[in-house]
């Protein structure tokens, strides 16, 4: 097991493009850390810099208290699963898994023991004599993970290992990976663009955008208290609803107006908004689809027209518009709503996220949580 520290890590290219900007992060021993973000956000580049496959332009990379900036990949004692698995096409599954050990000059009996043990864990013992072209996507993926396990390296890196699998296999492998992490207790850094993978696998998630860390936090915390509108929109499925409003004062209460509708805010929340001088200013209100209900307190409701109703068995998803703002809501399966209907949805005010319309920052981020991003 190893801890990894990235100190002011930057990656810039000759044409001036900066793929990663001032990346600071400490990955603790045994952590399952997820780097997540949209395509081109620099997450794979960061991983490749840790692996030693891409040069670090600036900053320091420490693995297990050793500065490794100038060490070759083979000297960093880590192993990696690639997006396309990168299996050696001319070798059998056994040889593929044994390769990393063989080049390290490990004893034949030891190699045999480790490969067979890993094959048992991954249930691929019957495939050991096959070549990669005779394997299915899921089997290839297991072989790639097997090759990583046998190395018993300090650090496991995984670059979107599930992205080539179909949905069913992906969810199955997700569970397998989680189990594997518990069993091995290894430090894993895992790159994905799939927020479901990130939420289910990670002990900590780093959300990235344009080469910068947006927020690094535990999955539940990230969901409950996103630092900004980008993180709020990226994490959660269906995505959070964002309604652009203007804050009006009516007596002691505030109305967050959009079009001809408004959401009423009273008490402490109203007071805090007034203290922060938001009267008359624009605020983006974020409401998760599950925080809409068909019943609730007067003044917290918005009216929407349902365009599509999706019955998912355990819940119903409705999608539509309210004052030209797209809205999605998650309702209980017994809800009697139909496409084409107008319906009143009551927002759970306690769960409202409020973002500054100009900066996109969650204005109550520091008050709501640890705020230590």
């Amino acid at each position: 097991m190893a801890s990894v520290s990235l100190v002011n890590i930057c990656k810039s290219y000759n044409n001036g493009f900066q793929a990663v900007k001032n990346f600071n992060l400490k990955v603790e021993e045994g952590e399952f850390l997820i780097l997540v973000g949209p395509s081109g956000c620099g997450k794979s580049t960061t991983l490749r810099m840790i692996a030693g496959l891409d040069e670090i332009s600036d900053g320091e990379l420490w693995i297990k208290d050793r500065l490794v900036n100038f060490l070759k990949p083979q000297e960093r004692n880590l192993s990696m699963v690639f997006q396309n698995y990168a299996l050696y096409p001319h070798m059998t599954v056994y040889q593929n898994m044994a390769f990393g050990l063989k080049v390290h000059g490990i004893d034949k009996d030891e190699i045999d023991k480790r490969v067979k043990h890993a094959a048992e864990i991954l249930e691929i013992s019957h495939l050991l004599d096959r070549r990669p072209n005779a394997l299915s996507g899921g089997q290839k993926q297991r072989v790639a993970i097997g090759s990583v396990i046998v190395r018993q390296a300090d650090l496991l890196l995984m670059d979107e290992p599930l992205s080539n699998l179909d949905a069913k296999l992906r969810s199955q492998m997700r569970v397998e990976l989680a189990k594997l992490h518990q069993k091995l207790g290894a430090t894993i850094i895992y790159v994905t663009h799939d927020q479901v993978e990130a939420m289910t696998l990670g002990t900590r998630i780093v959300v990235m955008k344009d080469g910068e860390i947006q927020q690094a936090d535990k999955p539940a915390e990230l969901y409950r208290n996103p630092v900004n509108q980008f993180v709020a929109g990226f994490i959660g499925s269906p995505t959070m609803n964002f309604i652009e409003t203007i804050v009006y004062r009516v007596g002691n209460e505030l109305q967050l107006k959009f079009g001809n509708q408004y959401i009423q805010v009273k008490g402490l929340l109203a007071k805090r908004l007034l203290n922060m001088d938001y009267e008359g200013r624009e605020l983006t209100v974020g409401i998760r689809p599950e925080d809409f209900h068909l019943e609730g307190e007067e003044g917290t409701d918005i009216e929407m027209e349902i365009d599509v109703r999706e019955m998912l068995g355990a819940e119903i998803l409705i999608h539509g518009e309210s004052e030209k703002t797209p809205i999605s809501a998650k309702l209980p399966p017994e809800s009697k709503v139909r496409a084409g209907e107008r319906v009143k949805l009551y927002a759970d005010i306690a769960e409202l996220k409020l973002f500054d319309a100009e900066t996109g920052v969650n204005i109550f981020y520091a008050q709501n949580g640890n705020g230590e991003a």
Binding site: A51, G52, L53, K72, P73, Q74, R76, L78, S79, M80, F82, N84, A86, L87, Y88, P89, H90, M91, F99, G100, V103, H104, R131, N133, S147, R151, L157
Partner: protein, 288 residues
């Protein structure tokens, strides 16, 4: 109705006729004519005059000169194939990375392909000249490269290897670009060094194209002619009398077309057998 169905049945063959005509005139006719001639003694015009059956073959198989020719050819083929494949492979591996000026180097390595063997032989003749040649000057030697039986065959073989390395460079470059870059990255992370990567990933990855290149190179080497004609004319003595040059000499110097035809048939049989054997072995040798 009957006409229509005839066109329907045989019309498609019409498309093959032009190609078949060319093949017939330039390939099939000479091929069968050669077999026919190989069983005759001919006059100076190359016309078959006296049927001798396998007489020409028996003469050849009892002739020392023919065995020398075969031996020289085999040594020549070994040197050429090894040399040209190694040169092509090394050049292709070197050019498989991107660096400034890569296009210049790629072109330079592929260029021998575009040079006629006789012009290359002319250039080599000057370079290898005992008194004014650059080779002797650079190496501070005084060797008569082309006229010494010890070196003549090696010189012709090296020239041929260089000439053939151009196309091999292209074959191997194509083969290398088919190898997935990510397996090298994985190997780096797995801890493999450059030598291990070359022998355990690159060479096995090239095995399909390697086999094809080997077959083409062997056939090509067996058929080398121009460089011998210009550089050594089969000499000194018979030290560079490759089988194709021997055929040429028998036919157009000695006017023994029958014997030349018999040698051609033997050369054909030799190359065919070798190719068949290689295709048999391929299934075991090619890695995936």
């Amino acid at each position: 109705m009957k006409d229509k169905s005839l066109i329907k049945r045989f019309g498609a063959y019409g498309y093959v006729v032009p190609a078949m005509l060319v093949f017939a005139v330039f390939l099939f006719y000479p091929f069968f004519k050669t077999i026919y001639l190989s069983m005759y003694k001919t006059n100076k015009m190359g016309e078959a005059k006296l049927f001798v059956g396998l007489g020409n073959y028996i003469d050849l198989l009892t002739s020392k000169s023919f065995y020398n020719s075969i031996a020289v050819t085999v040594i020549f083929v070994l040197i050429v194939v090894t040399g040209s494949m190694l040169l092509g492979l090394i050049a292709a591996v070197l050019c498989n990375k991107t660096f400034p000026g890569i296009r210049f180097f790629s072109t330079a390595y592929a260029l021998p392909m575009a040079i006629a063997s006789s012009s290359a032989a002319m250039i080599f003749k000057i370079m290898l000249h005992p008194s004014i040649g650059i080779v002797n000057k650079l190496l501070h030697l005084d060797i008569n490269w082309i006229n010494d039986p010890k070196y003549a065959l090696v010189c012709v073989a090296v020239l041929t290897a260089w000439l053939n390395s151009g196309i091999n460079f292209l074959y191997f470059s194509a083969g290398l670009s088919n190898i997935d870059e990510s397996i090298y990255e994985r190997a780096s992370v797995d801890g493999a060094n450059e030598v291990q990567k070359f022998f355990q990933l690159t060479l096995p990855g090239l095995s399909p194209i390697m086999f094809y290149t080997l077959v083409v190179n062997i056939i090509q080497a067996f058929q080398s002619f121009g460089q011998v004609k210009v550089l050594t004319q089969g000499g000194p003595g018979e030290s560079t009398n490759l089988i194709v040059y021997s055929i040429y000499r028998d036919a157009f110097f000695n006017f023994r077309f029958g014997s030349a035809a018999a040698q051609s048939v033997i050369l054909f049989a030799l190359i065919m057998c070798l190719t068949l054997v290689m295709f048999k072995v391929e299934k075991k040798g090619v890695q995936y």
